[in-house]
Assembly symmetry: C2
Homo-oligomer: 204 residues x 2
């Protein structure tokens, strides 16, 4: 048995989307697990992995910033000297997988028993509903930090919940029952497309 | 016959995607054509139109900005005091239409006879190729300002051109022959999804 360094997990791939032996062009990287990484960093690494291995093309959108003042010094790059963060009107991630449109938002919570819905502002829910209506594949990725678990929850399950409940949060047990657990590992740190495959298999 | 103000064109819709008479919720706007608008403004208005009428959900991505310094003054919003524009690693626009993933870049040129390929840097072509390979619908919108014409050129036609030619620009005649002209009008200012429909009809 191979002895992996603390915090590092062996590269496990289910299916044959990627043959490790053939992958000579990949630089050897020492990655000590994903413990120190934020959810965003883990997802960015997963997206880089999916992109490099031609599994999907999914990117995080840039943070929207309202630029107020710009200096144009001679012989150097334009320098923004006053700007403000704006609220995103859409979700953070989108792209293409199996020819389909993928759209999702990712959230971390320290809560043990539920996912507070204040994490999903109305304009994001509206955007998700619009994409869902157009036939896109829409979901949220929820990381329960205390449980060290990451779930993919399809937007349709959020809609169902919202029509039946007036709660301000989705219970952990609802997510455990209706969501799809994302394997965490070496590369990708969070294999959310594997969880998406599990969901898509249940779809007609 | 209705006498439209100079520069304003009548609302012509082919197909029945939108019934003007029923559209009571739309505020009455006086828009004097699209002459003064940049290509980006025209496309943003088209996207708002498509979104409001549930035809498609397509957005321009925020401009990527590298933030270096941020002030956090008391009782007011975080203020970015040093930041720089970064090069986009993807295209500017993406979204969902007919359940499919849509990805495109939009460019204006003052050139009469060709579209200079320096307008499409390698990393954007690579991104377009990757999305195309994943089954996305990928194209560029080219506005020839002198001709007052806007074309949708499918990525596959760009690929074909690039494999056969070593030119540094795509001739206007090639775009006229292999592209799809976009109707310009009142709302949407540029009906590029109509041009996309024309293209998709030719696809198996």
């Amino acid at each position: 048995m191979i002895d992996y360094p603390a915090g590092q997990q062996p590269p496990i791939r289910s299916g044959n989307r990627f043959d490790w032996a053939k992958n000579k062009s990949q630089p050897q990287q020492v990655v000590y697990g994903s413990r120190g990484m934020s959810l965003e960093e883990q997802l960015n690494q997963a997206n880089t992995y999916y992109n490099q291995h031609k599994i999907a093309v999914i990117h995080k959108k840039p943070t929207p910033i309202q630029v107020v003042k710009v200096d144009y010094p001679k012989r150097s790059a334009a320098r923004i000297t006053e700007a403000y963060y704006r609220h995103a009107s859409t979700t953070d991630y989108n792209g293409v997988y199996l020819g389909r449109y993928i759209d999702f938002e990712a959230k971390e919570t320290k809560n043990k028993t539920s996912f507070p819905l204040q994490n999903l502002p109305k304009h994001q829910l509206d955007h998700m509903a619009a994409c869902h209506e157009q036939g896109g594949i829409v979901f949220i990725i929820i990381s329960f930090k205390v449980h060290q678990e990451v779930y993919l929850l399809p937007f349709s399950k959020i809609q169902t919940f919202l029509t039946k409940h007036t709660n301000h949060s989705i219970p952990y047990n609802y997510i455990k029952e209706h969501g799809y657990i994302c394997q965490q590992g070496y590369q990708p740190p969070i294999d959310y497309l594997k969880a998406l495959d599990d969901y898509l298999q249940t779809q007609p």
